[in-house]
């Protein structure tokens, strides 16, 4: 089992950041590498079990299932069903925690997955830096920094 963990401070109150990241169908609105997204079978984006199908700017297609969404804990977990990455048992969680000092937000994004040993380092970099940190950096800029 491989683990990836990335965290950033977002310069906005957690409730504001949550409004953006809560939307399971909203990645094109803030993650720079996502071109378009839809929820399959006409489900609601906050219905546990719903599947988002989104297209990357490089043309790749990913399908992910919403496993958990908590407006109380400000966290969202999902599993990859299909992707161009050679990962299995991939489960990720994006969670927000208020930072009372300055009314900011800690955003944490972590994933666990299985992969071929010789691909592990590259995948950790691709997911940790190329996906999670890139998206969190975009989120920081969206809120003014």
């Amino acid at each position: 089992m491989t683990k990836v963990y990335v965290s950033s401070v977002i310069p906005a109150p957690a409730a504001e950041v949550w409004k953006v990241v809560r939307n399971f169908n909203g990645l094109p609105g803030w993650a720079p590498f996502v071109a378009e997204s839809r929820i399959e079978q006409n489900a609601q984006a906050d219905q546990i079990g719903c599947i988002r199908s989104f297209t990357l700017r490089d043309g790749g297609r990913i399908r992910e299932r919403l496993l958990a969404l908590s407006d109380y804990d400000l966290s969202c977990s999902y599993a990859i069903l299909e992707s161009p990455m050679a990962v299995e048992n991939y489960v990720a969680t994006l969670s927000l925690t208020p930072i009372t000092d300055g009314n900011l937000t800690l955003a944490e994004w972590q994933a666990e997955f299985d992969c071929a040993p010789d691909r592990e380092a590259a995948l950790m970099h691709q997911i940790g830096t190329g996906v999670f940190q890139t998206a969190l950096t975009a989120l920081k800029h969206r809120f003014g920094r």
Binding site: Y5, V6, S7, S8, V9, T97, P98, I99, T100, D101, G102, L104, L106, E108, Q133, L136, T137
Partner: protein, 508 residues
């Protein structure tokens, strides 16, 4: 059940922050509220179930037990076993998370407890600000000093600004030499400590030196600075010594080299060296002030130090002009009452903060345009609302730790924060870069630098007495205590139960 949760980002790697917080016996090295810590029974600090015993900076004691410790999650929990405050069922936890983007640390400190309803807000504020936020600032400070892991025995005393450089002060000891001849009754501090250290003694009183006069005190002023002398927070007084820096009285004897003063003159002073808590004393007369017939001894002893301070704060540190918006904290206190009345007279819009409704009524009567009870309302937000978002032009803040950040938030662009005391504790370290967001000016005036020569002092004295005569400011009748009860006066002052001034009467 109330829940308190505070969190911050510490600009240091998580391993460094965890090394500090993991030490269940280390708070006395960094937390300003904790002066002493030990683990009972010599248990290891990281043994779950061990009990730490704290002595607080204010003398209180408490015991806390380690309930859980995880190096994996960088989390620990503990509960209160005994405390001087009713924090019933207090269970707290500390956890850290890495901020991988920048190698910083997220630190969350949270607790649950059951306070009595009538003390709920006060205790929540104490835990939030006095324990957690103060702890954040202290750890930041500790990391900045780079002294992690080394003993911090040389922890600096609380940085209470002394009114004069202490090195220039004669020690009060000389007046304590057992004289062969005359003696006088005085309050003597033989060691730093609580009010109980204020003991009435008979001490020697030599004849005045050629450059000195002898004064028979009629009324002695009690000021917060005397508390700092008593506790040793600064070293204006070296035990054994007599505290006190303000009094009124009559000249009884004049040294051969003194001019301008005669036996029988009514005088007052508000200056070092310490030594006012006594019936009689000798001192050099440079900073003595002649009292005219229309200024009573009581008003002089109760109001001189505060009046001079108010004068230079309003006319020198900042020149308050008509139309200015002035924020005044602790407005029901001694200096606060004078600032409110005087700023109003100068044409300013006065926004005052107080801690209770009773004090709010006092300050309203003194002429404040707006009074904010800060225990009930966020004063910075209130100031912004009252000024339509503009903020205050000047903030006079002697409260310190509890208000400093709010004062900054309440100021207008190009506002001026005048920090002249810290009744609630030191303000801690601030990044002056933050002042750029509003181009703020900060002043930290020191009484001595505005009053330590006759030339500096005279205009403030004249202005204050003139304001008294014209009714611009009124000094309310002070609360009187016999000299022998100086300890009671200190207790009352420190409990913040008092409004207005306190004085000691040497002759019951």
């Amino acid at each position: 059940m109330v829940r308190v949760c505070q969190s911050t980002i510490i600009d240091a790697p998580i391993e460094e922050v965890w090394a500090i917080l993991r030490d269940f016996n280390g708070h006395d090295r960094w937390h300003p509220a904790i002066s002493f810590s030990e683990i009972e029974g010599g248990e290891p600090v990281d043994a779950v179930g061990s009990v730490r015993h704290f002595r607080l900076a204010d003398g209180g004691e408490l015991r806390e037990q380690l309930l859980a410790l995880s190096d994996k999650d960088r989390r620990l929990s503990y509960c209160l076993l005994e405390a001087p405050l009713p924090l019933m069922g207090y269970v707290a936890s500390v956890r850290l998370k890495p901020v991988t983007d920048g190698n910083a640390t997220f630190w969350e400190w949270r607790s649950e407890f059951n306070p009595p309803a009538h003390r709920r807000d006060e205790l929540v504020k104490l835990v939030t600000e006095g324990i957690y936020q103060a702890g954040f600032a202290a750890v930041r400070d500790l990391l900045r000093r780079g002294s992690v892991g080394s003993p911090v025995d040389a922890r600096s005393p609380r940085a209470v600004a002394a009114p004069v450089p202490s090195a220039s002060l004669p020690r009060a000891v000389s007046t304590l030499a057992p004289g062969q001849g005359a003696t006088t009754r005085a309050i003597v501090i033989e060691r730093y400590g609580g009010p109980e250290e204020l003991l009435l003694k008979e001490i020697g009183l030599p004849p005045p030196a050629p450059t000195e006069v002898r004064i028979r005190h009629t009324v002695i002023g009690v000021n917060f600075i005397d508390v700092y002398c008593r506790t040793g927070f600064f070293d204006l007084l070296q035990p054994p010594g007599v505290p006190g820096m303000e009094a009124a009285g009559v000249i009884e004897a004049v040294g051969s080299a003194v001019s301008g003063f005669a036996v029988g003159d009514r005088v007052a002073y508000a200056c070092p060296p310490v030594g006012a808590y006594c019936e009689r004393r000798n001192m050099t007369p440079e900073l003595l002030i002649h009292l005219s017939d229309d200024i009573s001894d009581e008003i002089a002893a109760a109001g001189l130090l505060k009046g001079i301070s108010a004068s230079f704060l309003l006319h020198d540190v900042h020149v308050v002009k008509r139309g200015a918006i002035v924020l005044i904290h602790a407005a029901a206190g001694g200096i606060g009452q004078l600032l409110v009345q005087w700023a109003r007279h100068l044409g300013a819009t006065v926004i005052a903060t107080v801690s209770s409704d009773d004090k709010a009524r006092i300050v309203e009567r003194l002429g404040a345009h707006h009074v904010i009870v800060y225990s009930r309302e966020n004063f910075a937000e209130a100031v912004m609302r009252l000024t339509n978002g503009a903020g205050a032009d000047i903030a006079y803040d002697a409260v310190g730790n509890d208000t400093f950040g709010g004062s900054i938030a309440a100021l207008a662009v190009r506002g001026h924060l005048v920090s002249f005391g810290q009744a609630s504790g030191p303000v801690g370290n601030w990044d002056i870069g933050r002042f750029a967001t509003k181009s703020l000016t900060l002043s930290r005036p020191n009484y001595a630098h505005y009053t330590d020569t006759p030339e500096k002092l005279a205009p403030h004295v004249a202005r204050f007495f003139q304001a008294l005569r014209q009714g611009v400011v009124r000094v309310e009748a002070p609360t009187r205590y016999d000299l022998v009860n100086a300890a009671v006066a200190h207790r009352d002052l420190e409990s913040r139960r008092t409004t207005g001034a306190l004085v000691l009467l040497p002759q019951p």
